[in-house]
Amino acid sequence: MFRAAVRLSVSGARSLTWTRLGCTAPLAQRCYSHGGKQETDDEFDARWVNYFNKADIDAWELRKGMNTLIGYDLVPEPKILDAALRACRRLDDLASAIRILEAVKDKSGPHKDIYPYLIQELRPTVDELGISTPEELGMDKL
């Protein structure tokens, strides 16, 4: 159903012609403007999974990574979120894990079917790590 990271922009079908800043946190910014080699969706996903999979990731890197990722015009793939949640586990940070789930639900905007799909894909990880979703904690209501 959702082949690559879901694009939220109106021109969602145009996959490779966007301009954005790609940051791998402490390193240099790479600007994909016209003329350079375009990164594919899979490369993007792999880069971010790799970022969160760092074994000794620290709290700052987790925050930086998540804040940057949420800044993009897309909802991250389940595999990226899986890596991020596991990073939270390594940092003993349950609150941030729940916050991440809230953030991606918000990122989906009006597309109400994205979040249930993500939870469905992340269910094994969420159960394994013992993360409760905001819905299970009653935090999705006011």
Partner: protein
Amino acid sequence: MVVRVLNLNQMLRLTAGRVGCLLSRRAVVGMTNSGARMSSHSHHEVSDQVDMSQPMYWDRLDTPLPDRAWIDVLDSKDKSLKQKEKGPWTALSKEEKIALYRLKFNHTYPEMKKPSHEWKTVIGGMFIFFGITGLVVFWQGHYVYPPQPHTFGEEWQAKQIQRMLDMRVNPIEGFSAKWDYKNKQWK
């Protein structure tokens, strides 16, 4: 626990000084509502100044993980909960998970997105100012304006119109074109 609410000036300064965050209108509005409050911070400043050299907390939809936790100063109950967090999370009860979230974050996303009643204040304020302006305009019309020129009077205006018709002002498409000369009335 000391809870300090920043005044509007400080909140605006904070917004202006935000480095590295793309400020969208929505995010700024969302920010000014809850502001970047200092809660349970360990220092006790007498002044209202925010120490911008310290990591700050914020509730922003587009920046889920702020630089510091909401509650920094933990009592012994919180500390033991944080210890328990280091073990398997499956051992935590729902209340403990919620408590851990509330230690780290102030508002949940639904709470951040909660609509406020501010628009009523804005519209009400607008109408108040319109009203005051209306009073000023009325007073001005009564006390400031000089008397109207005599050419505005009913009799003069009638004579003026008759003169314009006699001159055949704009007889094809404009003024005189609308007058029916045969029946001496407007068409």
